[in-house]
Symmetry: C2
Subunit: 246 residues, 2 copies
């Protein structure tokens, strides 16, 4: 937790917050904060700044906060991701949130097992929990928007054009297209203040998209790129690809 | 398992192997291979090629193999990594192996808990197991060399100069130095046949190297670089940084 994320219900006045639960527990037992400590804090979907610990009880802390700094610039990427298996979803949500993606579309496709859509990790409060952890790790405050599309064809045929309009469209697929470093070269916007989304990036499931699915993406204007000769797990392909934009 | 890694003890003749245990179980129950199937195979530290299934028993398979293709080019990076906590070590070993690192030094430093060095995941056979999984994922055969250095100062003062001789020396550290994309720009060797190690890359623990440790690395000729404003977990910083070389 490199930033303490403040939720609307934490505010007891305009400049005072009371922290309880997980965050209080972490600050008191792991970080071992004491009275007078200054912490990096940030308001969910708002500014960040400093919080000063002014009271400590057994399971809560009181801070006065000054929120005067805008959040870190988002990554200019809309990520379309085949729904990962539940075991991985939790960690991948944290990764995506920490790396600054603000628009995530989780989609179905042939190699996503239908049962994955029943995962409790897809409940909105569980998704939010893991996105919070990513924001706290990366010192960010802007919550990513996550949308689920449980049917592949309606997504690709009816929604994809609109969602990816005016962006570069890239789909990562082992062994096809150009090397991602060439496709994405010089597309960084280091230090850009508030980049809008410039790239729509699609990443398939373990086992990849099918040829049919790739063809539908290509019809929608997507260009395939690969990550070299090695086939990476999705959990590694995501930071490798998003790392091209940081 | 995108490649079946063949160990010396698998060979029952020059061109026949008998697979048992984990690999046989995976091929029979997950991949559901049948007689006559052709599989991508590779000899540990040797060539890769094709294996044809010629017999199946309850817990084993017999393949005839032709090994005529050299392995994928290694990543030209010697990775120096602060020993991750045991829970992460297993997965990080798989990642490093899959991404093509062939020289890994695990080191101690201030923010590595001493108890981590007692982890059963550091036993040589456990390390090898996880490196094998990474090779199988990435379709590689060359086993990384892993060396452990349990004392920081002797490592940095007595070994580091020799280990990093004739390479670029980079240490990743949040908030310091130049952006890694600038430091590492144009250093890819896409498609290079057999790159030798050109870069020594050091990555700290969760919580980072201390200023004192950074200073010692800098005295040894290391240049600090950062990954932008976001602080990433080690498990994500590794693929982001190694991704600059693939």
């Amino acid at each position: 937790m490199n930033l303490v994320l403040l939720l609307p219900e934490d505010f007891i006045s305009e400049d005072q917050v009371k922290l309880t639960g997980r965050r209080a527990h972490h600050l008191l037992t792991i970080k071992r904060v004491i009275l007078g400590d200054i912490l990096l804090v940030g308001q969910l979907n708002g500014q960040q700044g400093q919080g000063r610990v002014i009271a400590i009880e057994q399971h809560s802390l009181l801070l006065t906060v000054i929120l005067d700094t805008p959040p870190i610039a988002p990554l200019p990427v809309h990520l379309i991701l085949a729904l990962p298996r539940p075991k991985m979803l939790k960690r991948i949500l944290q990764t995506i949130s920490a790396m600054g993606v603000k628009q995530l579309s989780l989609i179905h496709c042939a190699k996503v097992e239908k049962s994955y859509w029943q995962s409790p990790w897809l409940e909105p409060n569980k998704i939010a929990e893991n996105l919070f952890l990513g924001l706290e790790q990366a010192q960010d405050t802007l919550l990513p928007q996550v949308t689920c599309y449980q049917r592949f064809k309606p997504f690709v045929e009816d929604r994809l054009a609109e969602l990816s309009t005016n962006t570069r469209k890239i789909i990562a697929h082992p062994g096809q297209g150009e090397h991602c470093a060439l496709v994405l070269a010089n597309k960084r916007t280091i230090g850009a203040a508030t980049p809008t989304i410039t790239t729509t990036l699609a990443i398939g499931p373990e086992g990849g998209f099918t040829d049919y699915e790739i063809a539908l993406f290509e019809q929608a204007g997507f260009k395939t790129c690969h990550l070299g000769a090695r086939i990476l797990r999705v959990e590694n392909a995501i930071p490798v690809l998003l790392g091209q934009f940081i």
